[in-house]
Subunit: 207 residues, 4 copies
Amino acid sequence: MFLSAVFRKRGTERLEAFSDGIFAFAVTLLVLNLYDPTARGSTNLLSGLLGEWPAFFAFIISFINILIMWINHHNMFNYIKRISREFMLLNGLLLLFVVLTPFTTLLVSEHLLDSQANTAALVYAGTFFIIAVVWNFLWHNATHFHNLISEDVPDACVKQIAREYIIVPIFYGIAFFVALFSAVASLIIIVCVSIYFGITVTGGEQI
Amino acid sequence: MFLSAVFRKRGTERLEAFSDGIFAFAVTLLVLNLYDPTARGSTNLLSGLLGEWPAFFAFIISFINILIMWINHHNMFNYIKRISREFMLLNGLLLLFVVLTPFTTLLVSEHLLDSQANTAALVYAGTFFIIAVVWNFLWHNATHFHNLISEDVPDACVKQIAREYIIVPIFYGIAFFVALFSAVASLIIIVCVSIYFGITVTGGEQI
Amino acid sequence: MFLSAVFRKRGTERLEAFSDGIFAFAVTLLVLNLYDPTARGSTNLLSGLLGEWPAFFAFIISFINILIMWINHHNMFNYIKRISREFMLLNGLLLLFVVLTPFTTLLVSEHLLDSQANTAALVYAGTFFIIAVVWNFLWHNATHFHNLISEDVPDACVKQIAREYIIVPIFYGIAFFVALFSAVASLIIIVCVSIYFGITVTGGEQI
Amino acid sequence: MFLSAVFRKRGTERLEAFSDGIFAFAVTLLVLNLYDPTARGSTNLLSGLLGEWPAFFAFIISFINILIMWINHHNMFNYIKRISREFMLLNGLLLLFVVLTPFTTLLVSEHLLDSQANTAALVYAGTFFIIAVVWNFLWHNATHFHNLISEDVPDACVKQIAREYIIVPIFYGIAFFVALFSAVASLIIIVCVSIYFGITVTGGEQI
């Protein structure tokens, strides 16, 4: 009780730094999914690299997704000025699934062209779906229970951002179901969704 | 002597940043323990992933543990306003065992279902036990020898936090001994302990 | 609209921190391309390490390149005081190719002495060429469309920096075409270019 | 010329952050040198782990060395208030060898008990020797050519720190020559030196 003032004053810097570290590290670890094709039997490096396109495709989609997530996370903290224990735990849950991304990307890289493609795409889209759901809980937690946002952010803005966030899991959910039928179509939906949100919304910021 | 003022003024920012980096990297490296099951002979990706549950189980427990540790480390620095050489060295000792976590997690991932499960769980629980012991020395060092904490933190609060921290190695010690008989039971104790401390205490903060 | 003020006030700290993280991780991941030569059949460690010189050569060139890029990125933010969504996306595109560097370095390490050397050097130089092109778009975006730079930076300085940046892709483009004929010559051009820019320009700073 | 004021005002934050990232990442990557002994033929995990002691020994020595280096780097910036291009390049050279540490540690881990132990220890000690030499150039550059240090640091202090730093390469040089005869003795010298400097000097700070 008596220390909450100290705690609340401290702000969000270190939570942002820790999250930034994990986003940056997860996005960099994606490169480990790319391999020298001659180590897998290609005799020509160029044709081997061209045949490795599923790995590059998955790398680029995951990179864009994590980048857009990071931009949105960054923008979210334009409004959030305090943190609570629950918020830190929810943010941690979000990061758990972000950390899984290099693994789900590996599954897509390895199986996009074989009979296990649908399973790989389901796991891949499912992870992004869960991230998008947790994201909504995070914003709800910040704005409803503890009012962690800055006082000078108008209510209309808070609600507009909530409306934007709520759409994201719907699209990832569609990508999840499409993965049952076509892995490539699911991936294309995912990359379109993330580019769309990267270009248009990014957390209520409207320059 | 004559420079201690400069040194002490500088505060804890860079120690926190370095520690944050190591917590964030260690938690992200956990993903490298997850593997594509078809690379180990599974013909069906879905059943292979389900059979990989020990790796996911160990991943989640370690992620939660490191996350809660980071939250507690973050909260500890709500009170600590200065650092000393001894504190930096003790904090480094703590980080050494944090860095070992991806390795101990690998041992549990690989051996939870075979005859070496008890050894793996002993190493796993033992590492967390040592971290919890060093943690107590860290708080003791900050509060007793050098008084590194902020002046406006009441003595009662310092003692309450010390009481909370002292319980943690006891529970990890229990998990260590249980590991002699059942690896799974030991892991369940560890995850319960870390969730309990994540939800209830987190360093004396009482919102 | 109504929140752009909040957003713009927030400054560039977290974008710099995220970029720093990716530069630092990418440069550190380069070490994973170095291998114990006895694991590949060398019986003598010393002669094995000497025979591994292409890996060390590629490691050093990539390290220097990423370091100089980071220094220039750092210096660029001496002038940039605000960020926009487009700038964040362009910066993300730049980082995507920075993250690829450990992979392109691996290709050069493995193939510098075999018949695939030209392909490896083309991919390697091509990636740096793309980074240099994106870099110019980044500066153009910062200075032309949104005027993200600090008000007290004179126009002459902005233009001088643009003139410096525009030269870089030309040299990497030359390295790309030279790679068609000689991989080693291409690498030597790359390291000379990056050392030259590291020593002489680094973003308009003129001490 | 005209922008040096802006540049110098900006301070050392981002150089410290980038260096912290590399120190933290290099130290965390050390864990990848530890392996599951059953993957190399051990049937008993416990005896396998005991037989893996060279890997743990090398891990601990490298961890301590990088930690002490980071503490000294941190303390050095208690005095340094400005940075120059040369300083950034020299600091980058230092980091290049820090990044090599997980590789040199791997060589020692794998060869401490075989006939290549001396070569591995020479590479290992040699890398630390070079780091210590570059460190002296770094301090010399900061204090002699550009006077990057804070005005309120007395000359006597600057010289005392220089005297402390100059001893370090001598000890690592001894470890290098001892490695010709005994790898284990060389490693013991290295760990003693780094603990001694960790406890006693750490950059002129005298609490």
